[in-house]
């Protein structure tokens, strides 16, 4: 099967969960998470009300890591099977990761301002390493759009996406390896540093953000695939 024919054939690939179901689940879960965060979870004994940023900030950070991880996995699939759709999926996943990365930086800065009195601290490894990870994947788009569409662009993008995945465990472990850090450690070797309703609200928020990210991923991917089909149809009818 030729490359173009394969691209056409893959467009029709269906998913087990319809997009409408995903969208409804996202709306329901995000609403439930907000109710738990603001009306059920108790105030933190140390940080008080401001700790409520944690539920979405940490969930968004882990969702961003998941998006970058998915982007790297799809990049590997592209290099392995030479599937043009895997390249598109990798691109969309990294795009989602960068969007969630912006949210991590924004919510983190707001939390830092309340807790530490500063919007940003360059002395904090966790913050700087996340910024490095974010900028690395932001540069992915510069690389991708500096090369003409085709197999070369797909291969360059895939290799770059795979390199970036190495930064994810480094960013995640930085706070655990740092000797002096004021950024709170949420997950230790012995499990999460909290329980009760705080844990329930966090788990629901995490699931809600992951489902929301997956829904947005599917929406963007559907748009990109239709765009690709239209481009090809335009070439045929020209």
């Amino acid at each position: 099967m030729s490359r173009e024919r394969a691209e056409f054939a893959d467009v029709g690939r269906t998913y087990r969960i319809p997009l409408s179901t995903l969208a409804a689940a996202s709306a329901g879960l995000v609403t439930l998470a907000l109710v738990l965060v603001f009306f059920v979870a108790p105030n933190d004994a140390d940080q008080g009300f401001s700790q409520r940023i944690f539920y979405f900030h940490v969930s968004i950070a882990i969702t961003a890591y998941a998006c970058f991880g998915l982007g790297a996995w799809k990049a590997l699939m592209h290099l392995w099977k030479r599937d043009p759709r895997a390249d598109l999926e990798s691109y969309v996943a990294i795009h989602q990761g960068v969007i969630f990365g912006i949210l991590v930086l924004v919510t983190g800065s707001i939390w830092a301002k309340i807790s530490w009195g500063h919007w940003w601290l360059w002395s904090e490894d966790q913050l700087v390493l996340f910024l490095v990870l974010f900028l690395f994947y932001a540069a992915y788009f510069m690389l991708r759009f500096s090369v003409d569409p085709g197999p070369q662009r797909e291969n360059f993008s895939a290799v770059y996406a795979l390199f970036g995945v190495v930064l994810i465990p480094v960013s995640f472990m930085a706070i655990r390896l740092a000797k002096q850090a004021i950024h709170p450690v949420v997950f230790t070797r012995h499990g999460p540093n909290f329980g009760g309703w705080i844990l329930v609200a966090y788990i629901v928020s995490q699931v809600a953000l992951l489902v929301l990210a997956y829904t947005l991923y599917r929406v963007e991917l559907a748009g990109k695939l239709v765009d690709a089909r239209l481009r090809r149809l335009r070439e045929v009818t020209a």
Partner: protein
């Protein structure tokens, strides 16, 4: 409203705003795709010499 409450509200509003902007961008893109489909239908109709057929409803996703 205390300072902490203001900051927490700002953080959640920022999340909501970014998701909203993203959805608006996607909606604009869908509108552009619809225009392009219309354009292609007209072009296909002109090629065939047939009147433009009514567009069928398609399930997305």
């Amino acid at each position: 409203m205390s300072t902490a409450e203001k900051y927490v509200t700002a953080a959640y509003c920022a999340v909501f705003a970014v998701v909203l902007v993203y959805v608006v961008i996607i909606a604009l893109k869908v509108q552009r795709l619809e225009r392009e489909v219309d354009e292609l239908e007209v072009r296909a109709g002109a090629h065939d010499g047939e009147p433009e057929r009514e567009r069928e409803t398609a399930v997305v996703g």
